[in-house]
Amino acid sequence: MALRRVVYNVTRSPELASGGSLVHAPIVPVQGEAREVHEDVAGEHMLINIGPQHPATHGVLRLVLELDGETVVRCIPHIGYLHSSFEKLGEYRDWNQIVPLTDRMDYLAPLIYNCAYAMAVEKMMGIQVTERCKVVRVMCMELDRIFSHLLWLGTTAIDLGAFTVFLYTFQQRELIYDLHESLTGARITTSSTRIGGMMADLPAGWVEQLSKWMEGFIPVLDEVETLLTNNAIWIGRTQGVGVISGEDAVNFGLSGPNLRASGVDYDVRKDRPYYDYDQYDFVVPVGEHGDIYDRYMCRMEEMRQSIRILRQAIERLPGGPINIDDPRVILPTKTAAMNDMESMIHHFKVVMEGVRAPVGESWFSVESSKGELGMYVVSDGGPKPVRWRVRGPSFINIAALPHMIEGALLSDVIAVNASLDIVLGEIDR
């Protein structure tokens, strides 16, 4: 059997200090050490297929990898297995009917998508929502940021072998599901926004329920941090893995925690504030190494900051109506529609013909849990959009995956893919 010398390039620092303490990664680094291997085993490249049905690809993502031993030479992602042409469907629905499509894209943070869509249409129509609606939407969006980050944390930890974290985070997610349910009547497919307001005002006791959940949540988050942040295995699998430089991250269009972990301070909430985000007191965590560990740290801190924003939102929650007083977009109350002839006609017209938007377009983006979520709506004056486009943050983020994992090890593919926090419903749309 022919022998060949191969230089392994597994570089992992044994001194991974975190929080001031020296941590020894359990994997002993083999840095540039040459070994003799059998040529017929190591010399050949291999083509393997991961997915579309694979638990660690977080949906129906399919990756075709060309491997040299355990090193990834080339990675070619395939998407589209969940494609349902939401954008085309939107062109056949009126403005309010599109709302249910939006939460089916990112079912991990549905309220953010509902709000972003409504905000884009309102901007195009020149509608200013009420103060109460603004604060309620901020609460919805921050709650779902935590909701999505918790899923990310649980599934990424389980991908890397830490099972316990999953139980903690999913228990908390259940409680947020309960909050969703009492707010909107649904747990996942919330469809809670309407053009000009919300489906309904906050139910009685919802704010108290939210405060109670927040009190219990912070200790759980602390506990999860003790499980991971200084954990040698976690550090060994995440530090220095999937690194992307800040310059590359901007060029690849990464956004959200993935971009900020690379040291680029760009958060839509700070840079183009909407809904008075400039008046809330919060900081945006920015990493420096651009690896999985920094993404993890960014998301952990973001959850704490979201709790801060939620507390301030509860404090400033004003009274007053949740919907704007504009009969052209808002339905009359049920009582009025049942008792008053003109209100009934009004109700009929809004439901059957839909809300009409003026000619125009708007590209509006919010900071979703996964990155910058842009909604582009184009109207020709009719009740239906000419074009409704979603700039999905996952779609753009996953495009950088080959760049991050080519040259890495096969086991890191799962880790890097998990760290990007993708949701296939939105990638495939």
Partner: protein, 243 residues
């Protein structure tokens, strides 16, 4: 709701909401109130006739129309001199009725915190434009999506193939206005095509080439009715009728 106010509203239903007088104090600023966009002025100065039109929509969104044959020149200038380092979005709009398809670039500058939208109009008979892949790598998948959904060809894109639809999709480009919602083929034909897909149909030409060079068969893809699955109605591992 008061009756008079309501009648006004009913009339308004047909026109759609405009900026109403009740919302005047907090209403978004109109085009005239805004300071001019610094980049648009600089573009005008530098390219002259290269800026076909300038529009302001939705209060504060600036759109610049440029000729499609000069897109790389203008966008390159915007990236290097205008410091628009972040390509937020790249998409297209088909207004239907044989009108030109618009390719839309939504740019954001992280250092200067400015937004700009650039549009190129492509007539239906010449759906070709230069790729911005080498300006922003973010354009890679977004250009593939526009190609897939609208049939716009991006010259110079190194890997222009369908992205959301299957590689052997033969019904056209779904987001075009002349594309029917349920596709061009009948349901029976669509099903027949889906069931007769071969392993090679699940791989891109690049991967087929790699497999050819490596001299190994393609790995199985588990898809409905595809290879790698046991025959329908047959339980694997249980030999019925076998002695």
């Amino acid at each position: 709701m008061a009756n008079g106010e309501f009648k006004k509203g009913l009339k308004g239903l047909d026109q759609g909401p405009g900026p109403s007088e009740a919302q005047a104090p907090g209403a978004p600023p109109q085009a005239g109130d805004l300071p001019p966009h610094p980049t648009v002025d600089a573009l005008r100065e530098h390219f002259g006739a290269g800026v076909l039109r300038h529009e302001v929509v939705a209060g504060d969104e600036h759109i610049v129309y440029i000729p499609p044959e000069r897109n790389l020149e203008v966008l390159g200038w915007l990236k290097d001199t205008g410091r628009y380092d972040f390509l937020q979005d790249l998409t297209a709009i088909d207004y239907g009725g044989g009108r030109a398809i618009q390719v839309v670039y939504q740019l954001w500058s992280i250092p200067t915190k400015l937004n700009l939208r650039v549009k190129c109009e492509l007539p239906l008979e010449a759906l070709e434009i230069d790729s911005t892949y080498f300006l922003w790598r973010a354009a890679d998948w977004m250009e593939r999506e526009v190609y897939d959904m609208f049939g716009v060809v991006f010259r110079g894109h190194p890997d222009l193939r369908r992205i959301l639809m299957p590689y052997n999709y033969a019904e056209g480009h779904p987001l075009r206005k002349d594309f029917p919602l349920r596709g061009r083929f009948s349901r029976a034909e669509q099903t027949r095509r889906a069931l007769s897909m071969k392993t090679e149909d699940h791989y891109s030409p690049q991967e087929l080439e790699i497999a050819h060079v490596l001299g190994q068969p393609l790995p199985d893809v588990i898809v409905e009715g595809g290879p790698g699955q046991p025959n329908q109605g047959e339980m694997p591992g249980i030999g019925i009728g076998a002695g």
